[in-house]
Symmetry: C2
Subunit: 272 residues, 2 copies
Amino acid sequence: MDSPQSSENWGSSGIIPANHPRRESLLIREKLVEALRENILTEHGLIAHGRGECFDYLIGETTTPFAKRSIEISASLLLLAKRPVISVNGNMAALVPEELVKLANEIPAKLEVNLFYRNEKRLKSIKEKLQRAGATEVLGVEDEQVTIPELFSERRRVSKEGIFSSDVVLLALEDGDRTEALVKMGKKVISIDLNPLSRTSIFSTVTIVDNVTRAIPLLLSKVKEMKTWDRESLVNLSKNFNNRENIAIALSYISERITALSADFKGKGKSI
Amino acid sequence: MDSPQSSENWGSSGIIPANHPRRESLLIREKLVEALRENILTEHGLIAHGRGECFDYLIGETTTPFAKRSIEISASLLLLAKRPVISVNGNMAALVPEELVKLANEIPAKLEVNLFYRNEKRLKSIKEKLQRAGATEVLGVEDEQVTIPELFSERRRVSKEGIFSSDVVLLALEDGDRTEALVKMGKKVISIDLNPLSRTSIFSTVTIVDNVTRAIPLLLSKVKEMKTWDRESLVNLSKNFNNRENIAIALSYISERITALSADFKGKGKSI
């Protein structure tokens, strides 16, 4: 079988063959390397992506049934929200800018740039990227900022009209401290995170264990579908969802996949 | 528990607190970001590192008993070799330059720079890094190059006096195609790779599923210890080693760890 490792070094030609077994994954990498050069991503964002790739590989690079359920629950929370906000970081802006704008328009929700490695240049690059993707309003850059209590990183700076006064926040590839702080402020947090063991995954109200490149388009189509539902149906859908159980299911899924792969190697090969 | 995710964004201050639970991991990242700026590493090397971090987390960020056994087998193969070579890439040069030079001196083995994203500037930066770490001879940069059969990437270019005429090659974070090509040429390949499912891991004669920052120092101390052994003891040590079984053990180990973690979440938390 192929592996994330093997596709590490495709070469600097920039040409990825159409039949390459890991074409999708390699195209995503090219987008991220480009985003680093455009000042949208930091070097740390590339490392974080690599970590995500590994977990994606372990779930089979597909949206699992439990991720589909999380996406449905998330659509209901976003549609029920009074002030939903999508928190955008460098990786999201690099990979799914158009889809984020469409999702924000469809819910409708506000878009806010929020970065750990925050500087004016990056904030503006990301805002512009979203604007080129069709966004008319992007918070978190020039509007009034306030501070999230009990948080010491640059991520504590949020838009007064956006995350600060939101009731539901959708985010991805986040640091656990901020997720915890947002939940403590009484907000519902929906996170997209391939690592079911991250502190973000654990603290979130709903964790979508999936790749943003698959999860955001699926969430968009669910929001479109469920927009016509009445309030009671939306409330009923999410009321038995327990995110810790969701994480346990994700971990069991990964564990079973690895056990199956392990069986492929037992009794194979020969001694030196 | 903590997670790789949570440490993604320590902040741009450059100051990592001495008591930070993921201090080691964060210091390694800082070294790699620095290496990118020094032209030793490529952006793709950062993504590859992130993927490794995830697997390292899954094995518990420690050298497992099966990795210790692989390290011992590797020491015996390196000591038995007639022309052992250590193949050095950007990640290895960034993380363990002094240890690589010490290991090469101890075996003794030749050091050769070999890159997928090959250019003169990178080759020279890495050669200089190894020289600053004490290396007197570094192959693969200005010496005579030949081509490995059946390989189409830039990695096919190897030193005539080094990898091309070697009998045992130690490498890390490699592309699977080259590993396979080296094995087809009749060489024994020892790989250090955190991903037990990579094509490099699968094709290698011995795979050390461990972080290079732990494995190289351990390999050095094993080589020192086993140098005094007679030839027969060295041969006996490795003769029952089967790398496919080794990979199966690594996968089972990871799977069991995840199952245990999953149990921590079952029946916890509450519904929305």
